[in-house]
């Protein structure tokens, strides 16, 4: 039993939960979004700052469970400083991992600490928790890009 729980609550996840990286809302930003998980009420306000095709900053304020908080922290680590295209493909990779029901082997090269979420994929009800901030990031990034285009 504890083994099953441990596969979900990896040390890395609990560490990020206790000490989230990049937390707080910062300037500058081109887009701010607010996403909610309607089933449980978890919320995130997230800002994206893009420049020269690179994710310069992701800042956020959020309330939620260990999985959603840790996932936000890991996401910020992964995308900040990356070209938008590369960040998007990391997003795709994380999404595929989460939707794979535990059958997808995570690539540590790409996902780094994100591989700790492999266990979450086996808990369908928690997948939404892990994806909340990623979806918010994708949404905000798309808006930032529109902003800069339009």
């Amino acid at each position: 039993m504890s083994a099953e729980l441990d596969s979900l609550y990896q040390e890395i996840i609990l560490d990020h939960y206790k000490n989230p990286h990049h937390k707080g809302l910062r300037e500058p930003f081109e887009a701010e979004v607010h996403h909610v998980n309607p089933t449980c009420g978890d919320e995130i306000t997230l800002r994206v700052h893009l420049a020269d095709g690179v994710v310069q900053d992701v800042s956020y304020d959020s309330l939620g469970c260990s999985i959603s908080q840790a996932s936000t922290s890991v996401m910020a680590d992964l995308v900040i400083g990356k070209p938008v295209d590369e960040a998007m493909s990391i997003h795709e990779e994380f999404l595929a991992l989460m939707q794979g029901k535990g059958t997808v082997e995570p690539d540590e090269e790409v996902l780094e600490d994100g591989i700790a979420f492999a266990g979450v994929a086996k808990f369908p009800a928690r997948v939404k928790c892990a994806l909340l901030s990623w979806m918010a990031w994708k949404d905000a990034t798309a808006r930032s890009l529109e902003e800069s285009r339009g």
């Binding site: 909610v36 309607p38 089933t39 449980c40 808990f123 369908p124 009800a125 928690r126």
Partner: protein, 421 residues
């Protein structure tokens, strides 16, 4: 007989009710499938298994049972989406029946949004609709100030398409019609009318309650110009349970419509001062959805899919052709609707001179033959023929030629019982 399902006897074994006997030990000859279909064992078993082993509320419950129930429920949505070839599974909304699905559309069109129907607009329906596709539009017209107009139909039971230019104009905001008539059996030219309606920017709402059980439907394969914007059908007519209906709508249109009922599951955030709403499909599914019903409906459309909708359609045509022949041999009998089996669905309404439909169905019932008598929720279509009611026989994938023989025999017996010759 050509076109019959090859495994008809095997299929009949799937439907436990077909084995029961009625008063006097008479076998059941069920010819009322347009009213509601019978259920195969696999549908019943899927529901029982769900209730005995996986029952929990969906979406909101995060425990193991909740995950199982949610998965079973959403699998029902996937199966329905596959059954009608829906471009996206999120476009499938579960309602309580076809009537609610049609009301959902008529109701939300009253409120703010790009599709809003108001004063001076025209809503077009037809004279051959089921009441469930007339009354909601009457209510919309009354509440919005829009005008309700309708196609009439010919003596042979076909829509009078010469009215198209007069009815479908720049003022027309909605065109709604049945795909297959539940009274006349007529199959309407959905693609053609949809194309015309789309040309003027009107929304097309199709009542597929009688089409879904009988015709292969592949929305994804239809050219967009000819694809209806919304279609409705009902679980209990496609060998599924009562308590569930389906509204399919294109994502674009569903996103344009405001929410219908308010409550749990359809919200994003609720504050006392105001609320925001979830995306589709949940936006239109307030409250606990029909969970065990979605499980049953999923099993039902899987069953129909396994038999094959093309094969079911061919079977219906063969049986209907045979029935039409048999009925025309009965003196004084007049069929209300097309006589060509290839142009119609399997519901055949008729009258017999000198006999009231109640009395016909009563005598048939005593002989174990279950048909429907009345206006079949299509009073305007009856009025069009100057009659108040009719008798209707309707077959389905489990109907045999021998049952049609029993039906025709019973009609002749009825005439003799009432001493008509």
């Amino acid at each position: 007989m050509k076109g019959l399902l090859p495994d008809l006897e095997v299929i009949r074994k799937d439907f436990p009710i077909l084995e029961r006997t009625l008063a006097d030990g008479r076998p059941l000859v069920y010819l009322d499938s347009a009213n509601t279909s019978q259920k195969p064992q696999c549908v019943i078993d899927a529901m029982v298994d769900h209730l005995e082993h996986h029952n929990a509320n969906v979406a909101r419950a995060m425990h193991q049972l909740g995950a199982e129930a949610s998965e079973a429920f959403e699998a029902g949505r996937d199966k329905v989406a596959a059954f009608i070839g829906a471009p996206s599974r999120d476009e499938v909304i579960f309602t309580k029946n076809a009537s609610e699905a049609l009301n959902l559309v008529a109701n939300t069109l009253l409120w703010a949004g790009p599709r809003r129907v108001g004063e001076g607009d025209v809503v077009v329906t037809t004279e051959m609709e089921h009441h469930s596709n007339i009354v909601p539009w009457q209510m919309l017209a009354e509440r919005s100030g829009a005008e309700l107009k309708w196609f009439t139909f010919t003596d042979e039971g076909h829509l009078d398409l010469s009215q198209v230019d007069e009815l479908i104009t720049e003022r027309t905001k909605v065109v709604t019609l049945t795909w297959v008539s539940n009274m006349l059996g007529t199959i309407n030219p959905i693609a053609e009318i949809t194309r015309r309606a789309h040309e003027v920017g009107a929304l097309v709402v199709v009542d597929a309650s009688q089409a879904a059980p009988q015709l292969p439907i592949d929305l994804g394969a239809m050219p967009e110009a000819e694809r209806p914007d919304l279609i409705a059908f009902t679980g209990h007519k496609v060998v599924g349970p009562t308590g569930i209906g389906v509204l399919w709508g294109s994502r674009e249109v569903l996103e344009q419509l405001p929410p219908f009922l308010g409550g749990g599951e359809m919200i994003e955030t609720v504050r006392m001062e105001g609320s925001t709403y979830a995306g589709i499909p949940h936006k239109f599914e307030a409250g606990t959805p029909p969970i065990v019903e979605a499980v049953g409906l999923g099993a039902a459309v899987d069953y129909l899919g396994a038999v094959g909708m093309e094969a079911i359609h061919a079977h219906e045509q063969a049986i209907t052709r045979y029935a039409l022949e048999g009925m025309q041999s009965v003196k004084g009998l007049r069929v209300l609707g097309p006589l060509d089996a290839t142009q119609r669905g399997g519901a055949v309404s008729f009258e017999i001179e000198g006999l009231h439909p109640h009395d016909v169905s009563q005598v048939l019932d005593v002989r174990g033959v279950a048909v429907r008598a009345g206006h079949h929720c299509a009073r305007p279509a009856h009025a069009r023929f100057g009659v108040q009611s009719s008798t209707r026989m309707s077959s389905y994938l489990y109907t045999t030629p021998a049952e049609i023989d029993a039906f025709v025999d019973a009609l002749n017996y009825t005439r003799s019982y009432f001493k008509l010759d």
